[in-house]
Subunit: 210 residues, 2 copies
DNA sequence: ATATTTTTGTTGCTTTTGCAACAGAAAAAC
DNA sequence: GTTTTTCTGTTGCAAAAGCAACAAAAATAT
């Protein structure tokens, strides 16, 4: 993610200077925020892991996005409608900076160091988010469960620079992330093992093809 | 899309000042660019309509993104791998600004007006792209063809502020955009008509539910 | 104006995916 | 350390989606 800024400095800067940013700590399974129209919240995950989840009318749960350290989220990135209830849930202890986006241009012309730094780094932070979202779209447009799994595994393999890697999700969550039925996904994982595409031990996957 | 900058000024500014940005015109069906690792191309669609398409090994075509006036694209937003051939194809005559992103910070400290303007507006342009991508993810995570269609129609209805709207795609392209089989999609449209959810006349759709 | 290509609409059949239900393993809570 | 909850793994059956193929309509090219 080679970001050219250090988020730790962020925290020190804003604590002495800025009253518009709040730092909050959330424990596992807590709801960090829910997306509400026109509030324009903008959040930075300083550390931890969290998911943006949606529950639809059929009771399906979807993990819309998965966030880890330095990821940004909030309704400022989302066209909120009444059809979708969106919650950001902490998967483990999370430290979060919460800010109201309002108008980045006017905010950043105050003398506050935090906003100076933010406006400087925002393009890079958002660019990072865009590439994440594009990879997500790429995965979701795959036509079969098999291709989604292989695509996701290959992504993790590339990221970790290794043929063996552990899943950052439980299998239940992975199904919700790939937007498929869990039992159908389990069946497909079994077939992938039988066909010699992958090996699986606990939550560790090894790719057997080059 | 209420952007606080005018892209027309962009064009005038850079033509007199900047040698690093090229403006090019493409005719219908021309390939505007293909995504190639490490080239870091960044493009602004000044006007026209274009699609980012992927052809997979099974011969499936996917419309990954659809671009219209003021949308931005290029491999700077994409983690390009050898598994995916990605082309941006003009749907109609398109005017495009093509720029190499390289390092936005150093570029923008020259005296070139274009880069000043660009760095100023970039967060807003990208933010717009992020909300588009999030809507796309929302659509793609719907579990059935029916829900994808209804979700997409509802989106168009919201955008046009009307229950009746025309599709910006042919039905063939719509299937590639929703990432589903065309004949299955046609069947589902028929069912939606029979069930009284929609009306369809040519490429105009009317939503019959509130 | 006519020929060619693309798009729309449809259908029968096959394959994939989803649903429901359950048992054992693992993890978390008490 | 025992209980409770969540997660994994599996299966039979039902429903949905994909595939192939074709004809008619519409759009585009010549």
């Amino acid at each position: 993610m080679n970001l050219s800024f250090n988020i730790e400095n962020f925290i020190n800067d804003f604590e002495s200077n800025c009253h518009k940013v709040k730092k909050r700590v959330f424990s596992k399974n807590e709801v960090i925020t829910s997306y509400i129209e026109k509030r324009n919240q903008f959040c930075i995950l300083v550390n931890g892991n969290a998911d943006l989840v949606r529950y639809d009318l059929n009771g399906n749960r979807t993990i819309v996005e998965h966030f880890s350290t330095n990821d940004i989220f909030g309704e400022v990135f989302y066209t909120v409608t009444t059809n979708n209830e969106l919650l950001v849930e902490a998967r483990e202890k999370c430290e979060v900076l919460i800010y109201t986006y309002d108008d980045i241009h006017t905010k950043c012309r105050t003398n506050c160091k935090f906003h100076q730094k933010l406006s400087e780094c925002l393009p890079e932070l958002i660019l990072n988010k865009v590439t994440d979202l594009n990879m997500r779209v790429e995965l979701l447009t795959k036509r079969s469960i098999r291709d989604k799994l292989l695509g996701y595994f290959s992504l993790l393999s590339t990221r970790t620079l290794s043929k063996t890697f552990s899943l950052p999700f439980s299998l239940t969550d992975l199904a919700d992330y790939l937007s498929v039925d869990r039992s159908a996904m389990m069946r497909e994982i079994k077939v992938l093992k039988e066909d010699g595409f992958i090996e699986k031990e606990g939550n560790k996957i090894t790719l057997l093809y080059k």
